[in-house]
């Protein structure tokens, strides 16, 4: 499965469009990590546990996007966009969407 965030796949040609596909996930961290991050937040710096959490959630969302595209019979997703939003204290939703296409 090829993913790009531009309208084409370099070196290949789009032969068929299948429409939009989405992949999303909502994730939260356990409370002890939250406490740790809260302490770290007093003094600044990177909150590595949160970086990892969001990175992993993004990978999962991407997996779901790929599965959806595969079900449609596509072999690539173009114009992929990432969005993140906080929906509750300590929980974020990651949404990835794009256009499923067939390339040759």
């Amino acid at each position: 499965m090829i993913l790009t965030n531009i309208e084409t796949v370099p070196g290949k040609q789009i032969v068929e469009h299948y429409g939009m596909v989405y992949g999303s996930t909502v994730r939260t961290k356990h409370m002890f990590a939250d406490i740790g991050a809260g302490i770290k937040n007093m003094f600044g710096g990177e909150l590595r546990s949160y970086t990892d959490l969001l990175e992993k959630s993004r990978q999962q969302a991407m997996k779901r996007l790929k599965n959806e595209a595969q079900k449609m019979g596509a072999n690539a997703v173009v114009n992929v966009r990432f969005t993140t939003s906080t929906i509750a204290a300590g929980a974020s939703e990651i949404l990835i969407y794009g256009t499923a296409v067939k390339v040759q």
């Binding site: 965030n5 531009i6 809260g38 003094f43 600044g44 710096g45 990177e46």
Partner: protein
């Protein structure tokens, strides 16, 4: 007594946070210099014989310190430019772009096209700490291009060059 604790925390946060920030800026400068020949554009225009590598992304979550929050609270009364948070966002954004570049380099690409940068506020936990922290994400399509073909004027961050001067 409460006031004393808050004051002590503020002073510690001022020094520790400041030291972390200076260290981070130094690291950013070095890394940006290291990758300054790597092409990053936010155009979709890829050369004719560009080779597709993959979608790459880099993210970082950065928390503020209590001193910055304190400065912000004061600034918020009068309005205006919040310098304390500007540097925070800048650090997050630059770090995210560097991580995206690192991922692209590890996949043997030599350019990223259509780089998008996004900043989101995320809150940590419940409870009284509602201030939260920020995430910066940079993502784009990594490609291998022929360096002889000029895409356009490259938009390379030149912070690294400042070291040379």
């Amino acid at each position: 007594m409460d006031l004393l604790i808050i004051l002590a925390l503020l002073i510690i946060a001022c020094f520790v946070g400041g030291a972390i920030e200076r260290k981070h800026f130094k690291e950013l400068k070095q890394k940006e210099f290291l990758y300054s020949s790597f092409l990053v554009v936010n155009k979709e225009d890829v050369g004719k014989d560009a080779e597709f590598v993959g979608l790459v992304s880099g993210n970082v979550v950065i928390g503020h310190d209590y001193f910055k929050a304190f400065l912000f609270a004061i600034r918020n009364l009068f309005g205006g430019r919040v310098r304390a948070y500007e540097t925070l966002m800048e650090r997050a954004r630059r770090e995210a772009i560097i991580r995206a570049k690192e991922k692209a380099i590890s996949q043997n690409a030599n350019a990223i096209v259509n780089l998008r940068v996004e900043t989101v506020k995320i809150s940590i936990g419940g409870g009284q700490n509602k201030l939260g922290c920020f995430e910066a994400i940079a993502y784009g399509t990594a490609v291998k291009i022929n360096k002889n073909i000029k895409i356009d004027k490259p938009v390379i961050n030149n912070h690294g060059m400042e070291i040379l001067k």
